[in-house]
């Protein structure tokens, strides 16, 4: 291992001070992506700021029709939490489907969202559940947050503190997982809110995105059959050894139908 300075602040304030004083610091949440990158020497930060002991970043709170989940909540805690299960079961299901038990016990909501991996599951929930990303300096609407592959609206050293999800009338997440990693080859979250239906897709393109075409069809009639005959344009989709862009486009509709069926059940 090469040398770096390891910090474990106990508060946001302390974390900010450390970040401001380091030459090339990285924030580590669960470390599920950053640590492998460091092992391969593809990242060599001067300082690691571990947020595991920052109490302000933990907890799950209900406020009206909103559920605010702290950035450092682990996937397993979200999957197993009574409050999440009873209010937004689709979100608990999504968390339960991430990676393996090791990843679910280390990986965090905030880490996944801030990383904006094109195949991560949470970004679909952030978009479909009309979430607000809360940071140490501002609130960012979901629509403005994911800006590209591994790119978000977060400024350098800005700390994601929590994600505020809106409770839908009904919702479900369906994904076609990579059999080895459980990352989404394609994942679709469908959520019916009082005012609109939201459909968000992950795994297919460079970043998670909403599918307005599917939203319109489902707004008219929330049933799997509403999606028959629709066509998804594969132009900007990912293509790799697991699936071509065209196959991913096909999977978007298949997963959307499954999610609608699951939400209706």
């Amino acid at each position: 291992m090469y040398e770096f300075n390891y910090h474990r602040p106990a508060s946001l304030k302390e974390a900010r001070t450390i970040l401001a004083g380091a030459s090339d610091a990285r924030i580590v949440a669960g470390g599920m992506t950053l640590l492998p990158a460091m092992k391969f020497r593809l990242a060599r930060p001067s300082d690691l700021v571990d947020l595991a002991h920052v109490g302000e970043l933990r907890g799950i709170r209900e406020k009206g029709d909103q559920l605010e989940i702290g950035a450092m909540m682990r996937h397993a805690e979200i999957a197993g939490g009574e409050l999440v299960r009873s209010r937004i079961a689709a979100l608990a299901d999504l968390a339960q489907g991430i990676g393996d038990p090791q990843v679910r016990n280390r990986g965090t909501l905030g880490g996944s969202v801030a990383n904006s991996d094109p195949a991560a599951d949470y970004p679909a929930a952030v978009l479909a559940l009309d979430a607000v990303i809360r940071t140490d300096r501002r609130d960012i609407p979901a629509a403005d947050f994911f800006t590209g592959m591994f790119e978000t609206a977060l400024a350098p050293a800005e700390i994601l503190t929590s994600v505020v999800f809106r409770q839908p009338k009904r919702a479900a997440y369906a994904k076609f997982p990579n059999p080895a990693s459980r990352y989404a080859v394609v994942g679709v979250m469908v959520a019916e809110h009082a005012d609109a239906v939201r459909v968000a897709v992950t795994g297919a393109g460079p970043r998670a995105f909403r599918a307005p075409q599917l939203e319109q069809a489902l707004s008219r009639n929330f049933s799997p059959a509403s999606l028959d005959g629709l066509h998804i344009d594969a132009d900007d989709f990912n293509s790799d050894m697991h699936a071509t862009a065209e196959y991913r486009a096909h999977l978007v509709l298949v997963m959307a139908r499954r999610a609608v069926a699951a939400a209706s059940a």
């Binding site: 990242a43 591994f150 460079p206």
Partner: protein, 187 residues
């Protein structure tokens, strides 16, 4: 693996050719490029700090220009070393065609990867390459015509065709490929 692409650049061929042969211009346009050393009239060495997601790594890229046929085109060959990450090497044929409203830049790049890179497929190469291509050609077009960024009608315009085949000049593409090892190894 192959990456092909075409870009329309709204200015005359001679100017595009000169810019493509100017190490300083290339250094300013390649995202993350920290330095370019000319090691001869047709050889240059670039140090590129590539940042994608959790990855932030420095790659030394050696580039040689061959088959020079001004102002019609050349072949770029290059090798990018990322330390323990492995290496990528390849070549790209770059051709400039005169068209009604400027110049059509066409390139066809072929890669070989080695070291840890050898086992990886093409996951995300397209997406990552597309983004870097946009950055590079955006910078390149503004370099040729600073007014372009204002979006004025007389400014330089850049359309990419076809969208699915968009890519990037070799030097940057090699770096992208190298970055992707990490991606494969953790999945």
């Amino acid at each position: 693996m192959d990456i092909k692409g075409e870009y329309r650049i709204g200015c005359e061929r001679q100017r595009v050719w000169q810019a493509l042969n100017d190490a300083e211009v290339l250094a300013r346009c390649i995202p993350g490029c920290e330095s370019v050393d000319m090691q001869g009239p047709t050889r240059l060495k670039a140090s590129i700090l590539a940042t994608i997601g959790p990855v932030k790594s420095k790659f030394d890229t050696q580039i040689t220009l061959e088959n020079l046929n001004p102002p019609v085109g050349y072949t770029l060959t290059g090798e990018s070393k990322g330390g323990p990450a492995g290496f990528a090497r390849g070549s790209a044929d770059v051709r400039l065609e005169e068209i009604d409203d400027g110049t059509l830049l066409v390139y066809d790049a072929k890669f070989q990867v080695g070291g840890k890179l050898a086992q990886i497929g093409s996951r995300l190469v397209l997406g990552a390459t597309r983004k870097l291509a946009d950055d590079f050609f955006g910078n390149f077009s503004r370099e040729l015509d600073p007014g372009a960024q204002r979006g004025s009608e007389i400014g330089l315009t850049m359309d990419q065709v076809p969208a699915r085949a968009r890519g990037m000049l070799l030097a940057v593409a090699l770096v992208v490929v190298a970055l992707l090892i990490w991606w494969f190894l953790i999945r």
